[in-house]
């Protein structure tokens, strides 16, 4: 796949999106809490990845490299939120995009599908969401997260512990969630 991407092959890009698109979208959705914003972040990430594929040093680290790009895009979106809502043209684009989106029934179905754990993660602050999503959803180690997020290992550990604690408190309110019972015994 990578040689094809290096040669700017369209088919290779399609394959890349088929393999990683859904997983990256789910990661972005957990981070941004908004499907529309998550789709845009992943779309931009694929474009950036395609343009900068030459910067990928080790082919084995393709997934990790893509996650790094997505996490950076999500951070950018998180920071630029207020600017996007200040300009009328940007607001208009959002309204138009919403019109193109699914109707209320589908929205409701989507909300129903986004279960307890997703909603609990969405209630956390961004810095805790980030480490929890990378650790539990992307199964990254503390060292990997520290490298990805440009943070020290201790900061990542502290955020992970605080995030886990906050998540547990949210989940404890949900009696039927299995993890809270498991984790309370640890």
């Amino acid at each position: 796949m990578i040689p094809g991407l290096m040669q700017k092959d369209e088919e290779a890009l399609r394959r890349l999106m088929q393999v990683y698109g859904d997983e990256l979208l789910r990661t972005a959705y957990l981070l941004l809490r908004d499907r529309q914003a998550a789709e845009e972040a992943v779309q931009d990430s694929f474009i950036v990845a395609f343009e900068r594929i030459g910067q990928l040093r080790e082919e084995a680290k393709l997934k990790s490299w893509l996650i790094r790009i997505v996490v950076n895009r999500c951070r950018m979106r998180q920071r630029t939120w207020s600017f996007r809502h200040l300009f009328p043209s940007a607001q208009m684009e959002n309204w138009l995009a919403e019109e193109k989106q699914a109707g209320p029934e589908e929205e409701l179905l989507q909300q129903f599908k986004s279960g307890t754990l997703t909603q609990a993660i969405h209630q956390l602050n961004y810095i805790y969401r980030e480490v929890l999503v990378l650790h539990y959803f992307q199964e990254m180690s503390v060292a990997e997260m520290a490298e990805h997020l440009h943070l020290s290992g201790n900061t990542v550990k502290a955020r992970l512990a605080r995030g886990r604690h906050a998540l547990r408190r949210i989940l404890e309110k949900e009696e039927d969630f299995e993890w809270s019972r498991n984790s309370s015994s640890t």
């Binding site: 700017k8 369209e10 890009l13 399609r14 999106m17 088929q18 698109g21 859904d22 990256l24 979208l25 789910r26 959705y29 957990l30 499907r35 998550a38 789709e39 992943v42 779309q43 694929f46 474009i47 950036v48 395609f50 343009e51 179905l109 989507q110 599908k113 986004s114 279960g115 307890t116 754990l117 997703t118 993660i121 650790h135 539990y136 959803f137 199964e139 299995e178 993890w179 498991n182 984790s183 640890t186």
Partner: protein, 118 residues
């Protein structure tokens, strides 16, 4: 135990988010492989530029400071409050039913009285 917990959470999240699918392949291809002229123009217009904020910000701040200093040195007494002089009070005079500035009428009156002097 930690690994088991990690696995459980991942499994739970995978199940909750299974309905989310990336649907913007066509938009990505349109941007990376534009076919029409309009598409190429749009791809160029949306091209991302990375500007280093710190060096650019420093250069801008330096430029602003040097411009300010340059003007401050060249025109040190440009403002009335800096000169220390009391602003000149102008006086109004009434003549022929109209109101004029006294200094203006004094300046122009000799010219009207002796137009030959230019």
């Amino acid at each position: 135990m930690e690994q088991e917990q990690q696995f459980n959470l991942k499994e739970q999240l995978e199940s909750e988010l299974s309905g989310l699918r990336f649907t913007r392949e066509a938009e990505v291809i349109q941007r990376t492989h534009p076919v029409t002229f309009r598409g190429r123009l749009r791809a160029f217009w949306n091209k991302e530029l990375e500007l280093p904020v710190v060096p650019l910000g420093t250069a801008f701040a330096l430029l602003l400071t040097s411009t300010f200093l340059y003007h401050a040195v060249r025109h040190p007494k440009s403002g009335p409050e800096m000169s220390g002089e009391v602003p000149q009070q102008r006086e109004l005079v009434k003549s022929g039913g109209s109101i004029y500035w006294k200094d203006e009428i004094e300046r122009r009156l000799p010219h009207h009285e002796n137009p030959d002097q230019g």
